[in-house]
Amino acid sequence: MIEVAGAAHPVVGALVVVAVLALGAMAVAVTESVVTAHVAGSPLGSAWSRPWRRAALVLARPQPVTERPDTLLWVLAPAAYVGMAALGLTVLPLGTVWAVADVRTGIVVLGSAEVLAMVAVFLHGWAPNSPLPLVAGYRFVAAGLSFLLLSIFVLIAAALPAESMSFGRIVASQEDGAWNVLRQPLGLPLFLVVALAVSLHGPLDVADAGELAGGTTAEVSGPARLAWGFARRAMLTTYAVATAVVFLAGPAGPLLPGWAWLAVKSLAVVVVLVWIGQRTARVPVERFVRVAWTVLLPLSFLHLAIAGVVTLA
């Protein structure tokens, strides 16, 4: 049985979190580039290096300027968003016997990070003092209320068989029994909805939408744009790792070390999420909210009820 140890040294923990988010964001960027090139029918050869070139060009551009922006919040928004991705990552087991801080209330910490990420996205729309980013920020908050509830019910359902809210215990419970993807089949698709929505990706990217000229990013250029692009991909990384941990038993697996299994499973989740993003068009925000409340939320209740009955049986 997997035993996940307690807190790591803060410096080691911080370094590991930064490294995982950086590597994850790079993996997401390359996956996006390769999948987009594949869908476009373009040669894949240069798709691997394209994200770095684009990042270099964005970095070489000047910082954004608008009339009377809220400069402090504009700088803080991407920092807060990355911070929430980092906070979520600290409670996830990154190796067979190791998490940065495997606290007993892990799923509460991840849920809190999700709520505060919503604030960061709203501020990114608010700060430039420009109409389309502002509308996009409001839109995201309206949609956010509906997907946050989903996330909570899915995570509670995963906590039931583990008899703990610690992600380490959730992994251990899957090692003892079946993986949650089999034991709780509704959970994975519901959690992927949350992952796409909270990280502003693919069909659920309501905040940075093309029809609003890039939404909250409409006024952003230069290093600030690079920071936001990194923040979104870091958030997707955290949710890919969380998906692998909650549904695919995270670091558990034969032969390879735990971190390697986790990396393989997380990367598979990233590929699935990015693939969905290039195949499925953005859901109109009204429909997203309606489907979330009338279909997905009742499904998550049902999911939780089934998980409870199965655990008691």
Partner: protein, 361 residues
């Protein structure tokens, strides 16, 4: 001689190999240029001037849209450049623009980006960077007008509750002008909206008056774009708006070459799936205009039908134009994103409407 500080060596080498991010200001007859840019991997068509290094003026921009074009020009952050296609910069009021022929367009853009990174080029602003209206210090509290909310900071009215709201909402209404060069909107269309939150509470749709016989200039003397190009460019722009960047490139590439009915059928198979483009368009933008009711899905399916017919060599009837007042009425109450997608889904008809000569007021 350097006019700005060059980007340091290694960063410049990487950045120089990046696709050129361009914002395209589309005028009359600009669709073929737009398709060419979207199809080419050395270029990236972006959603806002803020993400661009180069502004490309494609097609003919009438006199009445010059001020807006110059504002768009100034929104590209310096160091920046402007490229006009097939005409001289003076014809759009941007004398420092680089004029490039259609055939050498992308090579020209790459060269311009290289100059920008080397610090050898930077376009000056056209408009003044100051308040369009004197408001600071005006009024009893220096707020720019009468009463608590009466100011017009930076020349714009403040968001105010509507006197008689459509939905009876006591939410401030934000007045906003979109276009004529907003990415993805039909070319040369100006949309004035009053927003409560993101709900369209008041709207007027108006084309920029044309000042030249349409199709006579701006595309290297070519004829007006063929049906295939018009419909496929509209589809590519719609795909880009709903986040399907890869498919947008694929469609644009199709639009730049000879198209067979088989190509269009293949495209239809890829797009017409419940979880494909239809996720964004089924049941959205349902309009009832001059007897042709339908949602956005119905409209892009019609584009594919027309493109297939044209590719097969059949005669395709002209698109016809729209009653813009009726259109504006239908947009009321929509979410802003849905309203903008609806306008994008009328691109061929609205392009035909904007190409009409101005009616003397």
């Amino acid at each position: 001689m350097a006019v700005t500080r060059p980007v340091p060596g290694r960063l410049a080498r990487w950045a120089g190999a990046a696709p050129v991010p361009v914002h395209v200001a589309v005028g009359h007859g600009g669709d073929p240029v737009l398709a060419q840019l979207r199809a080419d991997r050395r270029v990236e068509v972006v959603a806002t001037p803020r993400h661009a290094t180069v502004l490309v003026v494609a097609g003919h921009v009438p006199e009445a849209a010059r001020t807006a074009l110059h504002a768009t020009h100034d929104q590209v952050r310096a160091p920046r450049a402007t490229v006009v296609v097939g005409v001289e910069g003076t014809m759009v009021g941007i004398p420092h623009a680089v004029s490039v022929p259609r055939t050498g367009l992308v090579d020209g853009l790459v060269a311009v980006q290289h100059d920008l990174l080397a610090g050898d080029r930077d376009d000056p602003s056209i408009g003044p960077d100051d308040n369009p209206v004197a408001w600071q210090g005006v009024g009893p509290h220096g707020q720019g007008g009468e009463g608590m909310m009466g100011g017009v900071p930076w020349g714009r009215p403040m968001a105010m509750p509507p006197v008689e709201g459509r939905d009876g909402l006591a939410l401030d209404r934000l007045a906003l002008r979109l276009g004529p060069f907003l990415a993805g909107l039909p070319p040369l269309l100006v949309v004035d909206v009053g927003l409560q939150g993101d709900v369209v509470e008041e709207v007027a749709v108006e084309p920029v008056p044309a000042d030249e016989p349409p199709g006579s200039m701006g595309t290297d003397g070519e004829d007006r774009p063929s049906v295939v190009i018009t419909e496929l460019v509209a589809l590519a722009e719609l795909l880009a708006l709903v986040g399907l960047a890869g498919m947008a490139v694929r469609v644009a590439r199709l639009a730049t070459g000879p198209v067979t009915p088989g190509d269009v059928a293949g495209l239809r198979r890829r797009l017409d799936r419940p979880l494909g483009l239809r996720t964004a368009t089924d049941g959205v933008g349902r309009l009832d205009l001059s007897g042709r009711a339908g949602d956005i899905t119905a409209r892009w399916r019609a584009w594919l039908d027309r493109a297939a017919a044209a590719a097969a060599g059949d005669r395709v009837p002209p698109t016809g134009t729209l009653d813009l007042d009726a259109l504006a009425h239908e947009l009321l109450g929509m979410e802003l994103g849905a309203a903008l997608l609806s306008l994008a889904s009328l691109r061929p008809q609205l392009a035909a409407a904007t190409a009409l000569p101005a009616v003397a007021a």
